[in-house]
Symmetry: C2
Subunit: 899 residues, 2 copies
């Protein structure tokens, strides 16, 4: 069966009927007034695309369903006296807005156009409909360059002195039809088909073909929609909102998509078709006006909205048309909403008894929660919006406008906040982007260089503000209305909304963050509805989730904040900072040591400092696990840069003021210099090659635990070995760690457990996880490094260099550093989980890469069966929410699978 009448489908048949077709069928079966029509399945499309042939049965099935439509409407397709007209629209499983083709008014011919004019009593309407068919059919089905039609229309308007299309009368449009038919003949080599069924069949094929239009292919590549799905085709009897003053067209929402409040929201345009609304030729009126224009239709629409919301149990958006006082539903779907509205609506629907709390949880997501947590411009403050662009990277940034990287870096170095303003950014602007509080561009979308790099940096960015005229050379830009902003003027940009403001707008903390930090009581009477909604859904999530959530934190303050945010421990304490600042001199001493005594002295100087660091951390996380990763980066990261030092030494030599210490250091830096430090002497390799380094750290950890225990605390520390590629590395470093711990136990009497585990951050660790698990108490997936090695690119180098181009061309759907690459990196994680647990059933499994706080990735980690995720403190609530959602959605899937 390749064709389904609307009464034969339902909303769950999106695979076969596409989203639009499935919802049209659902509305039909609800008894709502949907124009008669049918849907040609995606399967028919797939067969056509595979074989190049329309399936043999399709013709007869279309004939049969077309006859039913004709019967329902009491007209025949293209009947010269009173023609049935149909639209042919694409409708894939996943929305691909504007990517594929539509042909309206199929059924008009030289003869039936007159019948339509007569029946409608409107000559102009009929000829306008016909010229629209010729234009759409010519472009879409016959592949004629649309400029030919546009040029002819423009010429006619000039000729007639008509400023707008609507100023052309019936005679002019009839003339245009003649011109269009000539264009069709000249460009396609044949006449426009006068057989209505031939029109219909050709339009269906054209919609099939449009699945493989270049823009559709790129869009699918970007959105990771499978190229194999194909599109359904909806053939629907045309109804006309432009059939006179008692006709019209509109959109409606079953509740306010911004606040979630119930009510009547939407717009209406009398005597118009959908495309007129899009073209913005006339202004729409609020939907409530319809009550005065056509009370009967308005009441019917309100009834239908109530029905749909009750049925879909969610906010729906609706497209409708009134043809001569009769209401027709053309489309519905679950409506988009703002992040705040999503939380409010979800809890409202629970209060209204429409959905369960689990369902409410599934209606919001971590991306929305994260958006709500960014600082925002104070809503009560005065502000002057001067432009609006793409909300490329969320946040609220205020600073002086600068127009080049050098100025950005220079001003920032004096403590000035700056916003970097560029037409578009390139890799050359990287330092300027780092120096700026925010980035503003006039070109490029969410996949532009500016957007991609800013998101990678977590920096506020508004891009593609096309109304700005930026003059970099003169250091100024002009906004609509003649507003001029020069270098040094303060501007404010909202990366969450895309707004650009003149002057400083005060920034306030998000109330959601203040709630998480315990500053707002969600139970208080004056608490915002949003905070109450978030609080309620967080409780649901915490009750449902199976994944633990820890934080990545290196310092006691970070740990305390993470704990407030709900972290159940530290999944990653990086010990790098313990070698920075003042302590660099010990690393220099370690590197320059010429004998064991010097080396030992350098290490011993570090011991009390490190022990104090760990004591603070264990105090802040008392009673909760704290995973300490031993030193990971190469030692030269703690030394001066090779190029800088080389220049310094060369210049000193030139000036005759040589510095022996600098020269000695330069030799060491040269010796330790690596071509590819990320793939060099770091992690466990350092631990095995630099005598005493890891032992020092393990001693500091164990002694800190002992000290905390003596002080009455409950330290739960874990030692984590980074960058292990083979079990032998782990065995050797573990042996050394166990010896050190045993020694500390003996001297302090400390008896608590100190598990020793490893990062899994190299493909080889994942591939040999079964062997490695035998020497590990836990695995923590370092998905940042695992992404870098699995793909063979270093984030520092490639994000700026080519990620924008890759996203633009659809090589990536999303940066693999933002959201875990399930097919590649995820496969390694899955394999390591399975084989690690098989070798050691009590193996504890977590993730401590940034993906631990990414909503989509959290679902993957839930499904992979990890015990916990660990992420930055700020992301802890997001992870908690998504972990709850993952559990709920997995249960729902299991439920539907078992039904």
């Amino acid at each position: 069966m390749l064709v389904y009448g609307f009464a034969q489908g339902n909303k769950d048949m999106r695979d076969l009927l596409g989203g639009k077709g499935a919802n049209l069928a659902e509305m039909t079966n609800l008894g709502l007034p949907v124009p008669p029509g049918f849907t040609i399945t995606t399967e028919a499309c797939r067969t056509y695309l595979d074989t190049g042939q329309v399936p043999a049965e399709l013709h007869d099935e279309v004939t049969k369903h077309l006859a039913l439509v004709e019967t329902a409407r009491g007209k025949r397709l293209g009947d010269p006296g009173d023609p049935l007209l149909v639209s042919v629209r694409s409708g894939a499983k996943f929305s691909m807005p504007g990517m594929m083709d539509t042909v309206l008014n199929i059924g008009l011919t030289d003869r039936s156009v007159r019948g339509l004019a007569e029946q409608a009593g409107d000559e102009r309407f009929a000829w306008d409909s016909y010229r629209r068919l010729l234009q759409m059919f010519g472009k879409t089905v016959q592949g004629i360059d649309g400029a030919h039609f546009d040029d002819a229309l423009d010429a006619l308007k000039r000729d007639r002195g008509a400023p707008h299309d609507v100023d052309l009368d019936a005679g002019a449009l009839r003339e245009l039809v003649t011109t269009y038919k000539q264009i069709v003949r000249a460009e396609s080599g044949r006449d426009f088909p006068q057989d209505p069924r031939e029109q219909l069949d050709a339009a269906i094929r054209a919609v099939f073909d449009s699945w493989n239009a270049p823009r559709a292919i790129t869009y699918r590549r970007q959105e990771r929609i499978s190229a194999d799905l194909g599109t359904a085709v909806n053939v629907v009897a045309m109804v006309f909102g432009n059939a006179g003053p008692d006709s019209g067209t509109g959109v409606a929402f079953t509740r306010d998509p911004a606040s979630g409040a119930r009510g009547v929201y939407g717009d209406y345009l009398a005597n118009a078709q959908g495309e007129d609304v899009v073209a913005g030729i006339r202004n729409t009126v609020p939907l409530t006006e319809l009550a005065h224009l056509d009370k009967k239709s308005y009441d019917e629409l309100l009834d239908i909205m109530a029905t749909l919301e009750g049925h879909y149990r969610d906010l729906c958006d609706i497209e409708f048309t009134i043809e001569r006082g009769r209401l027709w539903m053309l489309q519905t779907r679950v409506g988009k909403r703002t992040a705040a509205a999503a939380f409010r609506i979800a809890t409202q629907l629970v209060d209204e008894g429409l959905i369960t709390e689990d369902e409410a949880l599934s209606r919001v997501d971590g991306h929305q929660l994260a958006q709500l947590m960014f600082p925002r411009f104070d809503e009560r403050a005065a502000r002057q919006a001067i432009a609006h662009g793409m909300n490329a990277s969320p946040g609220a940034a205020v600073g002086r406008a600068v127009f080049d990287t050098a100025t950005a870096v220079e001003w920032n170095s004096t403590g000035e906040d700056v916003i970097l303003v560029r037409r578009e950014t390139t890799p050359d602007d990287l330092d300027g982007m780092i120096a700026a509080r925010g980035i503003l561009t006039s070109r490029g979308g969410r996949t532009s260089h500016a957007a991609v790099v800013a998101r990678g940096m977590g920096k506020t960015c508004v891009c593609g503000v096309e109304t700005l005229d930026i003059d970099v050379a003169r250091g100024r830009f002009t906004a609509p209305g003649g507003v001029e902003v020069s270098e040094g003027d303060v501007i404010s940009i909202d990366g969450t909304t895309g707004d650009v403001f003149l002057g400083e707008v005060p920034v306030v903390d998000s109330p959601v963050v203040r709630y998480f930090e315990g500053e707002l009581d969600p139970g208080a009477a004056q608490a915002e509805e949003l905070v109450r909604s978030v609080h309620r859904l967080m409780k649901v999530a915490d009750g449902r989730r199976r994944l633990g959530v820890r934080a990545n934190a290196d310092l006691p303050d970070d740990a305390a904040r993470a704990r407030a945010m709900g972290a159940a421990g530290i999944g990653l304490c990086r010990t790098e900072h313990m070698f920075l600042g003042e302590r660099r001199r010990y690393v220099e001493a370690l590197v320059l040591a010429e004998d064991d005594a010097e080396r030992t002295a350098a290490l011993e100087a570090l011991l009390p400092l490190q022990r104090a660091d760990f004591e603070g951390l264990l105090a802040a996380m008392d009673g909760l696990p704290v995973t300490v990763r031993l030193l990971d980066p190469p030692l030269h990261e703690f030394l001066p840069d090779l190029t800088d030092l080389s220049v310094r030494v060369a210049l000193a030599g030139e000036r005759g003021v040589r510095d022996p210490q600098d020269e000695r250091l330069l030799r060491a830096v040269r010796r330790l210099h690596e071509q590819n430090p990320m793939m060099g002497l770091r992690g466990v390799r350092l631990g095995l090659v630099v005598p005493g380094l890891y032992a020092l750290q393990v001693r500091a950890v164990a002694e800190a635990a002992a000290a905390r225990e003596r002080a009455g605390g409950h330290p739960r520390v874990e030692v984590m070995i980074p960058l292990v590629g083979t079990v032998q590395e782990l065995e050797l470093s573990r042996e050394e760690a166990e010896r050190t711990i045993a020694d500390v136990r003996e001297r302090t009497g400390f008896t608590g457990p100190i598990p020793v585990g490893t990062m899994v951050e190299l493909p080889r660790a994942a591939l040999t996880a079964g062997a490695i698990a035998r020497a590990a108490d836990f695995f923590s997936f370092g998905t940042n490094d695992l992404t870098q090695t699995t793909w063979g690119f270093s984030r520092d180098d490639v994000e700026a260099a080519f990620f924008a181009a890759y996203l633009e061309r659809g090589v990536f759907g999303v940066s693999p550093f933002e959201s875990l690459d399930v097919a590649g990196v995820g496969r390694l994680v899955d394999l390591a989980v399975r084989e690690g647990r098989a070798a050691r059933p009590d193996l504890k499994l977590g993730v401590c890469g940034e993906h631990g706080g990414d909503p989509d990735s959290v679902h993957f980690f839930h499904e992979a069966g990890l015990d916990y995720v660990s992420c930055s403190a700020f992301r802890v609530p997001v992870a908690r929410l998504e972990a709850g959602r993952a559990a709920v959605l997995a249960d729902a899937d299991a439920g539907s699978a078992s039904r």
Copy 2:
């Protein structure tokens, strides 16, 4: 069954009985005179190691078998009047020479020592045997520091004025026994056990325990021998070669292990035990002397040697003892031999009808063939050997001795060949090692820094020449005999044999290479036997192998050489060199281009040059496939070094002679500079981001093919896209390549196929091979990069920094760059082969990493089911030989599995 009498086992039971036990059983069943004894299985050992308890049944089984030995020898263990003595020796499945323990003379007590003296009629012999038991038992079983025994022996010798052990008479030895017993009591807190069975049981446990001695653990880690195997224990009735002038001990080979010639080879030492031979106290005589000393035993031995060789169908080595005119066989195994002898013996055995040609092929290997292919010192030239060390990295190198890196670099820069001489090398010596022709050290073995790095570089190295006294400060070394070599003196080192010569020894090409290059006719009467053997076995290998062998070659000359060596095409043509030298200026122009016109001009200037390169290559490989890899390295590799250029620009500024071109270049170099270039903008990423670059290369390839076809040739070119991580990259670059090829076809009329495929050199490519295969005509595994990314280390950085330490500590068994890491990288290869072929059954699969020429790796690639390997020209014969062996051995395995 935990104990096997020798008559119950056979040579195929190595898993259970160990190598020594299995061969003793085999000889026993052949009716050869093996002293009676039995083998305790590895299973008993494993149980003991797992549980800490000797398995319950073992005691009774030992009792039973011991009784059989007693019956056979007509003596009882430790019988005071005429004691049976036994040895207790370890014997694992894989030889672990010197790693585990042995106890001889079990059964001697204060009473039975007198019985032994009486029976042997030799007081001194009995007391010497007893003191040896006390010493071995004390050290091995009771864990007493051996220095105690050595000190006591030395004191006694001083006391008696006896220069050697043998100068001590029976009385002195009896006194020594008393001293030793005191040491045992003092150190172990108990008396030496006077119950012979207690001695036996304790010795068995001690041998079990020695499986887990630290040195054994490290050895197994290095050799990748599983820690789970355990050792067997052989209990054998003692026979004494030191029982008088009609006794003795010796070793024998069934043919000459150096040449393979049949005859009597070996050494004999009268009135001595095995350990005396090892101690080198007296000189052995050639085995043929035995004919004069003991004709009967000699004839019997020759008979046995013939029996063994016929039975094992290979060269055997033998240990034997004659006790009072009676010959006993103590051990046999298939004997070691030189590389040249391996080839000669294998073909001789075929000629003698002992083995088939397939078996002969399995008796040689690619490591041996590679050894035979290195240039060698002319055998006919005079030479003065001054020392001998470890043959760490093969080859023959001649040069002036230098003692530090700075001098090595300086002299080399003036065209001088140098040999770097160091006590040992460190990462600081890297530049010197690069500059030297060869490396000579006095410390460290095959896993020392010098050895590992030299092998990685393919550079000749002799290390651990402990007889050299190297004085780096004075720039000279002294060899035995007072030979002194100072900086600048010429020396010659042979990395294949470990020899060090004074002065220049002429180097000649290997006759095997001259044969491969067609300069020697193996059929000629005067051809060396070695060349004839190699030729014959290569024919067998070529007839049997399923893997094709191609070469990695970039230039026409290389291609021609590879073809002579038997390459069936080029598996990897790197196009990097086409951007080097003079052509760098085009790359600079490309990088500095400020508009499309400048970029296009730079690319177009390269087109005719590249086309000519490819034409030459296709001509050299006419009729055979040539796989061209599009540009892989990052563009900044073709530009000056950042640090050098920064210093130059800074100094020019300081001197007031600024160079605008240098400054412009510096900005470009800074912009393109990458933290980790290996993981940066390279490979297909360059192709997708630098407009026109890959199109230029594809055009050059296609036009070259067209030109060759016009000239009457048969070009078979393939285009390979490097560094693909996701199918989208391949699709996009393939689309562009196909467009370019179509354009060339249209303009030239060329119609031959040009397959487009990809490297698989990133873990993600392997993990998503099923998807990638749908866009690829072939895969070529780039196992160098795949090793780097799977392990997360860059060869440049880590080989010098920590590979030596890793090999030493057994983290690696062998460098994963030398031999493919089957557990990690190999798993990815296997997965990609399986899923790539499943998605596309006609997918062509090859490997073009250096592993393609590594003998062990070739077997893996055969088993993985690849179509071909590609390696350097020099390695092509090695790969051919091993591909044949892989096929033969796989068939043999399949045969034995089906039996």
